[in-house]
Each structure stands twice: as structure tokens, then as C-alpha cells.
Symmetry: C2
Subunit: 214 residues, 2 copies
């Protein structure tokens, strides 16, 4: 049984926000922070901050508050971003290539070491100049996931292909999926995080348009 | 007063999911859909679907359900993705260039027509081969926003610069911000949609790591 069982999703999401804030404080040279200060920057009460952190352990020091460096290290360990994960990217189209340029993955320990596509025109070409990754055919997926110890798959395929490719990733042995395809993956047997950029765009355009319904 | 006032955020977000589902049904050639069918695909009850849509108008037809093409057009209009918005991208680093490759923006009517950066090594260079956009200095922001009728800014700058650039965008006259910087923009006077990819990555790695806190 995973240690994450029973911890509310919002508390885990706020852990990311606390980490962001702590990294900013570290950069400013601050050594300690109170739950009130940590909460204020995120529009949360000090009670909420203490309650969230209590799910994960005992971090505060009486009369001091939290030590910024200590809490940073502990939260990174809890979030699993203190280690490296080998990652396969599926889909070498526009979005996939855009994601390959994005250094944020490597910063969080997610190393894209293999790229796959179904398009015969793309398979065999090199798409990342820095890494020199060659696009592989989907038929190699199981073998590469096994031999290269790949634990995570990033889905950057069209909505219509997403479900099948996700099932192939699980079958090949990946333990988590980061889904950029604009479709909901239901009933998967591994954790899925979804990033649907079109939803964010639509939400913003709704606010710009003022919910026009004429 | 905007017509979007008083409509719960989750209902607006689900509107995006309904649209995704309707577009998929359109692709399959389906002409009508019931609230039950629409809800099932998204793990929602039919009552929830009807309640959500009722915030925006009367869409159903007795004995028929929803007409797929009609509801698609109406939701696109409500979300404002049936029109074009001129967009400025701020930040021509890795993430900014990655976003420029991403065709999803144009598909939703968001046309990136100007790119800005503070880095003197980047200003003046062309970064998008298809469009031939030249990176402009921040000093040109106000003028370009006004003369090119830019309504939206995409923030792809480091966390430390995000707040100042956001304020400059509002000052220059943009009406909404899509924030990719890993920082919360508080007390802005215009709508802000945040896409923090690192939060998604951390949430997934938390699940992979099983909340390890040893």
C-alpha cells in the first residue's frame, strides 16, 4: 500500500505551491518561515498550511517556524522530484517537439530518453538536436521501456489515438502517464496526470468573451 | 457587468469537457446525444450535465436530447473560441519557443502576432520560421499592444520576472493573461489563467514515488 493513500488531492497540490514559495524564499536568502507567512503568499490561512503539512510529517520547530532549506528538501522528497525518472515521449508532432524543448521536465528529474511515433515519415528522423534522439516506431515500445528502465510516458498524440497509446504504455510497463492529449483517460490502472492546454485556453477566452450567449 | 458573473468556475470548466466530447461525437457522425450519454463519458450524472448547461441557456429538445452540431456551436460561442484574439507572447526562451510551435493556440483562435523579450541577445532575432516573427524589446510593448489590437498576453518568463511583466501587460492594455510562469499572480485586475507544468509534474511524481517521506 502506498504511503500517499488517504491524503486529499488538494493537500498534495498545495504541497507544490508551498515548494514554489520555499524555493523563492531560498533564493531571497530567508532561513526560516512561519505558517502564516507561507500561507499569506498563497492566500491560505496559517491553519490550512499546518494542517496540509501535518499529513506528511512533523516539520515545524517551536519558536522558529519552518527551516526553509529543511522543508524544501523534505517536500521534494515527498513529491519524488529529488530523484530521476526515465521517460518516453509518445508523439513527435508539434506538441511533442515543443515539449522536448521544454527544460522544466529535466529540472524535475524527468529525463526524456526515447521518442516514439506512428508516422512513417517521422520515424527514423532525429528531432532533438541537443540529445540526438531518433524517433522510434511504436513496435519498439515494450523492448525500449524494459531495457531502458522507462517508468513514465508522456502522451502528445491526437485525442483519437490517446486511449490506445495509453493502453500500450501500461502494457509495456510504464507506471505513470502525463497526458497532453485533449481527452479524458478513464479507468487506467496507473496514475495519470492530465494537462489539457485547450481547456485553459477556453477558460480564459470565456472570461475575455464574458460568456457571450447571444 | 459580464454575463459570466455568478456562474460557478467548475461549470465553466466542464463546458470545455462537454465541448471535447461533442467534437468527438461530431467526428463519429453522431447527430444527437442525451445528457446521460454526455455525462457517462465524463463520469458525471445526467442531472449534473443538465444543471451545468442550464446556466448558459436552453439547449435540449424534448424527446431528442441535444443536437450535437447545435450544442457544439453554442458552447464554442459561450467559450469565445468562435472568434480570433490577437496575442502577444512574452519570453522567447525555451518555454516560449516551445509554445510558439504549439498549434493548439491558433486552433482556438489565439493568434500569436508579437513576441517580446528582455534579453538583448535574443531581441531582433527571428524565432518562428513559419511566421517570421522578430523578437521585440519590452519597450515596444505598449505601442504594439495598442496598434495591433492585442487582447491577450502569454507569460513564458521566469518566476522572478512574472509579476513585473504581468503588470506591464495590464498597463499596456491587455485584457487577459495566460500564465506559464511557475508563480501565483495575485490581485490582478484582469482575468488570469495559470498553467503550471511543474505542478502537474510534481503531482505525477508524487504518485510514482508513493509519497515517500523517509
Amino acid at each position: 500500500m502506498s504511503k500517499s493513500d488517504g491524503i486529499p488531492g488538494p493537500a498534495v497540490r498545495r504541497l507544490s505551491l508551498y515548494l514554489r514559495q520555499l524555493e523563492s524564499l531560498l533564493g531571497q536568502g530567508k532561513r526560516t518561515v512561519s505558517s502564516r507567512e507561507l500561507g499569506e503568499a498563497l492566500s491560505l490561512t496559517d491553519a490550512q498550511v499546518r494542517k496540509d503539512l501535518a499529513y506528511f510529517g512533523q516539520f515545524g520547530h517551536p519558536g522558529i517556524g519552518y527551516r526553509v532549506d529543511e522543508l524544501t528538501v523534505r517536500i521534494r522528497r515527498i513529491l519524488g522530484t529529488d530523484r530521476e525518472w526515465n521517460v518516453a515521449l509518445i508523439g513527435a508532432g508539434n506538441l511533442g517537439r515543443a515539449l522536448l524543448c521544454y527544460r522544466g521536465f529535466a529540472k524535475k528529474g524527468f529525463n526524456v530518453i526515447a521518442v516514439f511515433d506512428t508516422d512513417k515519415k517521422i520515424v527514423g528522423t532525429k528531432i532533438d538536436l541537443q540529445e540526438g534522439l531518433t524517433v522510434l516506431p511504436m513496435s519498439k515500445l515494450s523492448e525500449v521501456v524494459r531495457t531502458q528502465n522507462i517508468r513514465l510516458g508522456i502522451l502528445a498524440v491526437p485525442a483519437t489515438a490517446a486511449r490506445q497509446v495509453a493502453d500500450e504504455l501500461v502494457e509495456a510497463g510504464v507506471q505513470g502517464i502525463l497526458n497532453f492529449a485533449p481527452v479524458t483517460l478513464k479507468n487506467m490502472t496507473c496514475p495519470v496526470a492530465a494537462v489539457d492546454l485547450t481547456v485553459h485556453l477556453e477558460q480564459l477566452s470565456f472570461q475575455l468573451a464574458g460568456g457571450d450567449n447571444t
